[in-house]
Subunit: 151 residues, 3 copies
């Protein structure tokens, strides 16, 4: 299975990675790559804003989660050159900015998990945590972190 | 020290693990096992709900934290077969859904930390973080993640 | 570059580490050290309290973030003896207790990231996540976790 081909099948185009200041989008240690918390940015701008369950619908939160994953994969590709080097997605942590009283954070993060499994199959399955918060940087509804094992 | 015996001494019965959809309860990489965020579920249902300091008392939050740890150990056992293979608990992160203004999150997570040390002795000691949030998935008062080194 | 000398140049004096009960300030696994979530404590007391954007100004939050990093380095030194053994800072996660509606959490965590780069140069660069929450243990405005690779 060629991952670049899979991405094309899903019509996923990995964006240019943005430069960040005093930290890194990814840090490699041994055969693990830690990916910095990704926001639903497109061309440098947050495309969905606000809290899920108040300003933002569940489905919009799920779209935002998928964009976070795509941005994470773009960052990873910039680090490792070829996404076919991914051996397994190890871990995904998703923070969901949500209306007070909202308790369906896992449904937002399910969209991120499903996208990884769609693209990578069993290698895309991961341990994960879904957590609710009130606000995220730049007003984003979702922030996603990942750890990936490469070969 | 036999861990199964220790569990019996503490009258801890590890539950059947629940199946999850598009992610994994645990992911192994090298000799580390990442355990997905565990909620205080018994037989598939959240047994304590709501925010500590508002709907839920401190002691109830501590009970919930212990159930999260037991569920994490059940997930780990399903992955590695025998809990005697645990070399050390590396890390524990506990999120506590709490009333606005509540600042004793660490006392909830202390119950999780203490249970691990009770069961595993020095091998059960871990680096950790205790964090407050407003809401967690399914209305749970506590969510606990762990990383474990196995032999 | 001698790290102890760098710390002196920045007039940073690492504090005595505090003893914790049923967990550890650091846990080593292989050549990684996980550092427990650090609060802006000086001599055992939280020196800044409250939520950034309400009780606490942005600049105060940044000062708090720097103290968290210094406490993390003190904990790390107690584990590894000599900070010159640091090969790279792998990951930093910063939780910011903030006023509802505050979305500049990354600016608080930037202060932590910058301090690490100031001290360690390229080895201090790291993957990271900045997350907003409503309350943190003991009323701290910032909590910082780190993973470090040593040689």
């Amino acid at each position: 299975m060629d991952i670049e081909k899979r991405l094309r099948e899903f019509k996923i185009i990995l964006p240019e990675v943005e430069s960040v200041g005093n930290y890194l989008l990814t840090r490699k240690v041994g055969n693990l790559v830690y990916i910095s918390g990704q926001l639903p940015k497109v061309e440098g701008r947050i495309v969905f804003k606000g809290r899920v369950g108040r300003d933002t619908r569940l489905e919009t939160g799920q779209k935002a989660a998928r964009i976070c994953v795509i941005n994470a994969l773009a960052a990873l590709k910039a680090e490792i050159g070829d996404l076919n080097r991914i051996r397994q997605i190890v871990h995904l942590r998703g923070f969901v900015a949500s209306a007070i009283g909202f308790t369906d954070h896992h449904k937002i993060i399910d969209a991120a998990s499903s996208l990884l499994v769609d693209i990578f199959g069993d290698a895309g399955k991961h341990a994960r945590a879904a957590v609710g918060v009130v606000d995220l940087p730049l007003g984003a509804p979702v922030e996603i972190e990942m750890i990936v094992e490469i070969r």
